[in-house]
């Protein structure tokens, strides 16, 4: 037996089929408006048709209040939205999210379409964005060499970092050739070597003039650049696909100049300050050590120890001094004794007696001192010793006292 489904079940299956189609969930459809009704609820109901077909559309109030024109029958428009099934009537319809009068929105649609496509591919992934080097050795500029953008960029970069190295890859920034020139310039700067960051940009202009920066080829060239890319297209309010793919978006070319190099003066100051801090810190380190040494030198313990040494030294000096003093006393004493002995000896010396006029009589034969008269005979030879010599004498007579 074949399975049988309810109307609701089949409707649900159809609805799931339509909603499962990525294409139908983000689709731009152009056609002519007919059967337009602006319901009292605020929702808009209409049909989009061309020569062969038509699609029922609904645009909810929440979406249509944003429109800057009033849709009406016969108007050619491009609608953006998703297709689903209204289960109650079993009819599929376009749920319109945005509506543009035809022509005006072509570029806008192309932009949105490319944006959606590249976004899905991950070209705008924030995780992929590479940091801009702090101090690029060489900066590549992809822009018109005659435009205001290159002048602004050079002025700002030179002001901030006067000795920055810059390579300009001149390109057309608008017109048919622009996109392909921008792409190959990015490639060339990548191959040149030493280029550490690339700025791709131009000054402000209409959406048509900025269009090269919304081209898919340019987006892919930026994406595949090995060197980080800063986009700098137009003014603050212009957002291009290039801005979304770039590693960093600068609102204007001047702003890109500010981003790409630091201010050299600021860096030099920073180094000077660090140097001063280093010197101050080193000095205070040394001073601290010196203070600690001073503190120890002045501490009670150290002073006590030092005084102890000084005291011992003083004692030692005193002892040495005493030793010398005592020694001198001893020696002086001995000297005195010696002197008096000498003078005593001198007093006793026969020579001293002889000097005073006395003489000594000696036997010539025996050399004996003659003390008594009887010690010699008459006629005997004797020596008479005087202070300066001797006399040899013969005894003529002797008489006793």
């Amino acid at each position: 037996m074949k399975p049988v489904f309810s109307v609701s079940e089949v409707t649900q299956i159809i609805k799931n089929l339509l909603e499962g189609s990525a294409f139908l969930q983000q689709v731009y459809i152009k056609g002519e408006i007919s059967n337009f009704k602006h319901h009292i609820s605020g929702h808009m109901y209409f049909t989009l048709k061309d020569e062969k077909s038509q699609i029922r559309c609904i645009m909810f109030r929440s979406s249509n209040i944003l429109l800057n024109f009033n849709p009406e029958n016969g108007m050619k428009v491009t609608a953006f939205g998703h297709i689903s099934v209204f289960e109650k009537t079993g009819e599929y319809q376009l749920y319109v999210e945005d509506l543009e009068p035809e022509g005006v929105g072509d570029l806008h649609i192309a932009f949105e379409r490319l944006k959606a496509k590249l976004e899905k591919e991950g070209l705008f992934n924030p995780a992929r964005k590479r940091p801009i080097p702090f101090l690029p050795r060489r900066i590549g500029l992809v822009t018109s060499i005659t435009g205001a953008a290159v002048r602004d960029l050079l002025t700002v970069i030179k002001r901030r970092y006067p000795n920055a190295n810059i390579v300009i890859a001149p390109v057309l920034v608008q017109g048919k050739e622009a996109a392909s020139q921008i792409c190959s310039a990015i490639g060339d700067l990548n191959n040149l070597g030493e280029v550490e960051v690339i700025i791709v940009g131009r000054g402000g202009g209409s959406i048509e003039e900025l269009w090269a920066f919304n081209e898919e080829t340019v987006a892919r060239a930026i994406y595949s650049s090995k060197v980080p890319v800063i986009s700098a297209v137009g003014h603050e309010t212009d957002i291009t696909i290039a801005d979304l793919v770039a590693d960093k978006r600068a609102p204007t070319p001047s702003a890109a100049g500010e981003m790409v190099v630091p201010e050299k003066n600021v860096l030099k100051n920073e180094i000077r300050q660090l140097k001063n801090r280093l010197i101050t810190a080193a000095m205070s380190n040394i001073n601290l050590k010196r203070q600690r040494l001073e503190y120890i030198r002045k501490s009670a313990t150290f002073i006590k120890a030092r005084n102890m040494v000084l005291n011992y030294r003083y004692e030692l000096d005193r002892h040495v001094h005493n030793l010398f003093k005592n020694m001198k006393i001893q020696i002086d004493g001995k000297k005195l004794i010696f002197k008096s002995q000498v003078s005593k000896l001198q007093a006793l010396s026969p020579l001293a007696v002889l000097q005073r006029g006395y003489s000594i009589c000696q036997s010539f034969q025996s050399q004996k001192i003659i003390r008594k008269v009887e010690d010699v005979c008459i006629g005997e030879m004797v020596f008479v010793v005087l202070s300066d010599g001797k006399l040899l004498c013969r005894v003529k007579d002797r008489g006793k006292r």
């Binding site: 060499i145 890859a169 140097k275 810190a281």
Partner: protein, 81 residues
């Protein structure tokens, strides 16, 4: 002193680290002097890195065979587009 192999930010952050360490104190005299010497050297490396670019502005020129060469930028007056 070859500065090519030094990255400015790395040198600077080492310099900051040394300065902070020295400012914190708590070092032996030898350590303090070694750090000081290294720090002063790093300030020289930093200055050298900042000054080493020559400030050249060049224009990339491609001939018909696709060969790339560089010539000095003259202010953008003669090239058109």
């Amino acid at each position: 002193m070859k500065t090519n192999k030094y990255k400015y930010e790395e040198v600077l952050s080492r310099l900051e680290e040394i300065t902070n360490q020295l400012e914190k104190g708590n070092l032996t005299l030898e350590e303090a002097l070694t750090l000081f010497e290294e720090g002063i050297n790093l300030t020289k490396v930093c200055s050298k890195i900042l000054d080493e670019a020559e400030g050249k502005i060049e224009v990339l020129v491609k001939d018909l065979n696709g060969n790339i060469s560089l010539k000095d930028f003259n202010g953008g007056s003669e090239e058109i587009g």
